[in-house]
């Protein structure tokens, strides 16, 4: 970062933009926005478990997603790229921020910053491990006790009947809620959008969206554990 230069060529210009702390924040914000959009869609997909014939609904949803494997892979690779860029850029900013204050305060008292905003570097890494586990658990199925190809409903029910797995999902989704509470308003500020009329609305939107996504997803393992979902699976 200390090597940021005044650009002389087009290439240097783009590099200088990425080398700058602000350019990096744009990358975090734009990739964060993509990941946020994905979590919204994913949660809506998940909530189909509350439909009357959930098993059928989830199987046809899984088939719908696989209408074209090419398109699915384009989306997967896009999301993976966003995920990797988000984390790599954050790691670089984290190092920069560490070196910007090598000696910590003996006493430091936060004033207005929210708990969620101060723990982005805790909720984020937990989400990273969650995503790895989640793919192994319900997409590949290799860490699942009773994986059935193309039957999300049964995989969910069997998977969440294990209290440890369900517990990890619940913790991870709380972390997602915290991460998005700050992240979703923060991305607007990072790309330079702040207006006294809209910013308070954006903050309420962020908190609401985060709560809905987090609680919507948490309700599923909770309902499985309580036996509300999956009575028909023996």
């Amino acid at each position: 970062m200390a090597t940021a230069v005044v650009p002389k060529s087009k290439i240097q210009q783009s590099l200088a933009l990425y080398q700058s702390s602000i350019g990096k924040k744009y990358v975090v914000a734009i990739t964060g926005a993509l990941l946020f959009a994905f979590t919204v869609g994913h949660m809506l997909g998940n909530l189909q478990i509350y439909l009357p014939n959930a098993e059928e609904a989830l199987i046809s949803y899984a088939k719908l997603l696989r209408t074209s494997m090419e398109v699915l892979w384009v989306i997967r690779i896009g999301l993976l790229t966003a995920f990797v860029l988000h984390i790599v850029t954050i790691a670089q900013l984290y190092n920069l921020n560490r070196s910007a204050r090598p000696q910590a305060y003996v006493k430091k008292t936060p004033t207005v910053s929210t708990f969620a905003s101060r723990t982005m570097y805790v909720s984020g890494p937990i989400l990273f491990f969650f995503v790895l586990y989640h793919i192994a658990h319900l997409t590949i199925g290799n860490v699942h006790p009773n994986y059935q190809e193309m039957n999300p409903y049964r995989n969910l029910v069997w998977g969440f009947r294990q209290p440890l797995a369900a517990g990890f999902y619940i913790v991870a989704m709380s972390m997602l809620g915290a991460h998005l509470t700050h992240g979703v308003w923060s991305m607007f500020q990072s790309v330079g959008f702040n207006h006294p009329r809209y910013t308070p609305l954006i903050r309420s939107f962020a908190t609401t969206a985060a709560a809905v996504i987090s609680l919507g997803n948490i309700s599923i393992p909770v309902c499985v554990l309580l036996g509300i979902i999956g009575k028909d699976v023996v």
Binding site: Q13, Q19, S20, I22, N97, R101, K108, G192, H195
Partner: protein, 257 residues
């Protein structure tokens, strides 16, 4: 009233520092915080100890010289108050306070509670100015400025460069300072000719000075003695990215100058 102070003592930039405890048996609640330290220093000098070094000048909240952390909050954390404007009546008998210098790589400690804020000067030198032709002053009313722009520019211009934003930021970011200085000029017609160069050069210098990166925690805005809004950071971010895309090398930058 009785106070216990834990003050960061450090003899020089590279010397190791430590917290030293001082008992103040009789603090007058009408004293300002700096006057309280003056009294402590009188006592230290009489005992032959070296006085606590802290920066100050105007003692009325306009010069930006003073500032240190009180109990982990920049300037003590009172709304729109510099430490020189802070009075002891805000504290209670028996309180124990921790006094520390601003901590940032970009702000090396000079001694005790005093840091070197020249990094801010270098950010200003990079673009915190406008170029005007010499000659007689233009009629003040000749340039039309929308009221809301002049208001916002004046709000940003209130920055006194004390460094509390950097100090209170968990990332030691100078975004509020740099944002205020950029927005202050970029919102006004007089700032337009150098708008993009200003954003590009001041942000680049800010990065070179090893300040951290903003994570939108808003600690700076809350502790800024002038109440400067993080809206200025958003303006900086926009103008910097615009400048990065639009920039054309000038003759001198391209090496032909």
């Amino acid at each position: 009233m009785k106070l216990t102070l834990n003050v960061w003592r450090q003899t020089g930039p590279t010397a190791p520092g430590k917290m030293v405890r001082y008992e103040m048996p009789d603090v007058n609640p009408d004293m300002s915080f700096l006057e309280m330290l003056d009294v402590l220093n009188e006592g230290l000098i009489q005992k032959g100890d070296s006085p606590i070094v802290f920066e100050h000048d105007c003692r009325e909240g306009i010069c930006g010289s003073c500032g240190f952390m009180i109990d982990g909050k920049a300037h003590g954390g009172f709304p729109k108050t510099t430490v020189c404007q802070l009075h002891m009546r805000h504290y209670k008998d028996g309180d124990e306070l921790f006094l520390e210098p601003w901590r940032a790589t970009a702000f090396p400690i000079v001694k005790d509670l005093m840091v070197n804020r020249s990094a801010f000067d270098r950010i200003i030198q990079a673009g915190g100015f406008i170029s005007v032709p010499t000659g007689s002053a233009v009629d003040g009313n000749a340039i039309a400025i929308p009221k809301s722009n002049s208001d916002r520019a004046m709000d940003a211009a209130q920055c006194i460069g004390c460094g509390a934003c950097v100090a209170s930021c968990p990332n030691a970011s100078a975004s509020l300072f740099t944002g205020a200085k950029i927005a202050h000029l970029n919102l006004l017609p007089q700032g337009q000719p150098e708008k993009l160069d200003r954003a590009l050069h001041m942000v680049t210098t800010m990065n070179e000075e090893m300040f951290g990166s903003c994570t939108n925690l808003r600690e700076c805005e809350a502790t800024c003695p002038k109440g400067i809004s993080i809206e200025n950071i958003a303006i900086m971010n926009r103008h910097f990215v615009e400048a990065s895309f639009a920039h054309r090398p000038t003759a001198s930058e391209a090496g032909a100058g």
